[in-house]
């Protein structure tokens, strides 16, 4: 029994989302947090391509995915800039150290 392309895609999408969320709940390194966000968004992006194909609107799906890539890249850049600055100021990238604000 062979799997068709959409279901492979679907498994990949769910896998990416799951890995991303799991990572966000567990990793402590700020760079890894940004990577986890990237994984999450890649899942969503792939989902757009997949659904575009399923609904017969390949172009629309892909253009949406492209837009997501652009926005997401900016977020990643801002996130990494913050991470660099955090490393400078806190001397660490561990998000356990980023808990001065509470209550």
């Amino acid at each position: 029994m062979s799997m068709n392309v959409p279901s492979v895609f679907l498994i990949v999408v769910i896998g990416l989302l799951g890995v991303g969320l799991y990572a966000l709940l567990t990793v402590r390194n700020l760079i890894k947090v940004v990577v986890a966000l990237q994984i999450l968004v890649k899942g969503a992006m792939l989902a757009f391509v997949l659904v575009g194909r399923l609904t017969g609107q390949v172009n629309l799906g892909q253009s949406l995915a492209l837009t997501v890539i652009v926005a997401d890249t900016i977020v990643a850049v801002v996130g990494l800039t913050l991470a660099v600055q955090v490393r400078r100021k806190f001397g660490s990238l561990d998000i356990k150290d980023l808990t001065t604000l509470k209550r």
């Binding site: 969320l21 567990t26 947090v33 980023l98």
Partner: protein, 582 residues
């Protein structure tokens, strides 16, 4: 004409508040003068308004939509209370000229006093329930600001916040009633509700009735919300007079009296009102017996006397309750301002450190004793006539055990009043330093009040006329002449009541011989000194809320993983809820 006068008696104090504030604290004398001028002008406007009292809507400000039209009616009940608020209020302002001499931040003081007076006038004159609630809340805001006037004193701040929170808590009852009324009838018109209470469903009407009772009890410091009023004694003394005699606490009694025709047929409502009044009257009277703080004794006596008024509303004799409100306003303002003169001079509120002040403060002693006799209910002072009216109403319209307990309350009132007068003005002098009699402005405020305590009972006839059916179509108060009313008072039960009062007096006279009885009642005194556990309940509620707050703040860990977990958990819960719901 009436419209202009209504606008003037609300607007003048408010304008005055703004002006006094704007003048700035560097011009103290101008502030005093302006405050007196504006409050007196409002008083004059309100007194003239007495002449054009009527049941028609006198002023409509169209706002429309969900807020209804802001309407005002100058009916008897409203105008009468407006006069009390402005006249007694302006006397308190005049008294302040001496009392607050040299204080910081007079602008804030007078601004809130005038704002308070104007709001109270608005509260009693409006016939739009939303607007009534608005004014209701403004009076709460002003009382809080004035009780906490000495901001540097944590006790004053605590007292102010307590007053605010408790009255606002009760205010939720009024709020619920108002939104229910508008949602069922589409209108905020109070008189429409009084005209046909059956136009809304019985269940809703019951919610309204009991909601308003809660609001009134909180505002008038009735059981079980009485705890805020004694703590409000941290306010400057003219403010205590203002709150106790002219404005704040009258609002609750007013609310019950105003809505009595609509709620009287709600099952159990009149009994509940009588019971609240009875419990409060007795409990507060006992607390007054064991207190040594001059202002607290007066505060408890206010609570107790308000209990009498509430009880009178419950018996259905609204006239007696309002007549006592009139007497009480006069003699309580007199007592508070007199106490203010004493405190201003001695520098303490503890009666154990006073004593023998009578010789040094002859004027104050005379007027204070006049007020005290009125409070104790001795003839021929105004408190006697109005309290007897209430007791007679109780005899006719309430269970006999309630009447007897109210009689006992009158005896206790006489007891603590004489105790207070004795401790302050007689006995061995204890206070040291320079003791001086009341200042000039203080005398100007005290003299008319003393005269009033001696004479306002002569107004019974005109008073019944202005509360009569011509201006209050739903309250069924019949206009009678003064002599008819006084004639009703002079009867056998009155002699019984006078006997009880005399017993109270005698008990204080022979207190040494009653030592055994005193010991036997020691537990009661202890319970009263602990305010019958209500303070503990208050503290418990505050502690519980703060504990919940502290407990909850643990959830804000600041850890990013935890924060993301919040998102995931919320998503999962929402999925689950939707899966179950759909």
């Amino acid at each position: 004409m009436a419209a202009t006068l209504i606008l003037l008696s609300i607007g003048l104090p408010w304008l005055g508040a703004l002006v006094v504030w704007m003048v700035g604290d560097r011009h103290e004398k101008i502030q005093h003068a302006l405050a007196v001028a504006f409050s007196l002008a409002a008083g004059v406007a309100a007194v003239i308004l007495l002449g054009s009292a009527g049941k028609e809507t006198a002023l409509t400000i169209p706002v429309g939509g969900v807020f209804g039209d802001f309407t005002f009616v100058a009916d008897g009940l409203g105008v009468f209370l407006a006069v009390i608020a402005t006249v007694i209020g302006s006397l308190a302002v005049i008294f302040s000229v001496d009392y607050m001499h040299g204080e910081h931040q007079l602008g804030r003081y007078y601004a809130f006093v005038l704002f308070f007076i104007g709001a109270m006038v608005g509260l009693v004159l409006t016939s739009n329930l939303l607007l009534m609630f608005v004014f209701w809340e403004i009076t709460a805001l002003c009382s809080y600001a004035l009780i906490a006037f000495h901001n540097d004193d944590p006790k004053a701040v605590a007292g102010g916040v307590k007053a605010l929170i408790i009255t606002q808590f009760g205010g939720v009852g009024l709020l619920l009633g108002a939104v229910l009324l508008v949602s069922t009838t589409g209108s905020y018109d109070i008189n429409a509700l009084l005209a046909s209470p059956s136009s809304i469903p019985a269940g809703t009407l019951a919610v309204l009735a009991y909601g308003f009772l809660v609001a009134a009890a909180a505002k008038s410091a009735q059981f079980p919300f009485q705890t805020w009023l004694p703590d409000a004694m941290e306010a400057p003394t003219p403010i205590s007079a203002l709150i106790h005699a002219a404005t704040m606490v009258n609002a609750g009694v007013y609310l019950l009296a105003r809505f009595f025709p609509a709620f009287k047929d709600v099952p159990g409502w009149t009994e509940a009102v009588m019971l609240v009044g009875l419990v409060t009257a007795l409990m507060a009277a006992i607390m007054a017996v064991v207190s040594n703080d001059l202002k607290r004794v007066l505060a408890y006596s206010t609570v107790s006397q308000l209990g009498y008024m509430v009880y009178a509303v419950g018996t259905g004799v609204v006239f007696a309750s309002q007549f006592h409100l009139l007497s009480h306003s006069v003699f309580k303002a007199l007592l508070f301002l007199g106490a203010g003169a004493v405190i201003h001079s001695v520098g303490t509120r503890d009666m154990r450190e006073m004593g023998g002040l009578g010789k040094k403060m002859p004027f104050t002693r005379v007027v204070f004793i006049i007020g005290a006799l009125a409070l104790a209910g001795l003839p021929i002072l105004n408190g006697f006539w109005s309290k007897e009216l209430i007791l007679e109403a109780g005899l006719k319209h309430s269970p006999i055990w309630m009447y007897i307990l109210m009689l006992v309350g009158a005896g206790i009132t006489a007891f603590y009043t004489f105790r207070m007068v004795w401790m302050v003005f007689y006995g061995k002098p204890k206070a040291e330093g320079h003791i001086h009699d009341a200042g000039k402005a203080m005398k100007v405020a005290l003299a008319p009040l003393a005269l009033g305590a001696l004479t306002t009972w002569l107004l019974a006839g005109p008073f019944s006329k202005i509360l009569g059916t011509e201006t209050l179509p739903y309250h069924n108060i019949h206009a009678e002449s003064t002599w008819e009313i006084l004639g009703e008072v002079i009867s056998l039960p009155t002699l019984v009541a006078l006997g009880v009062v005399a017993l109270g007096l005698l008990a204080w006279w022979q207190r040494d011989k009653l030592g055994g009885l005193g010991k036997a009642l020691g537990w009661l005194g202890k319970a009263a000194a602990a305010s019958f556990g209500f303070e503990a309940i208050n503290r418990g509620v505050v502690k519980g809320t703060q504990g919940a707050s502290n407990g909850l703040s643990v959830t804000q860990t600041g850890l990013l993983n935890w924060n993301v977990l919040g998102i995931v958990v919320a998503l999962v819960i929402l999925f689950a809820v939707l899966a179950l719901g759909a």
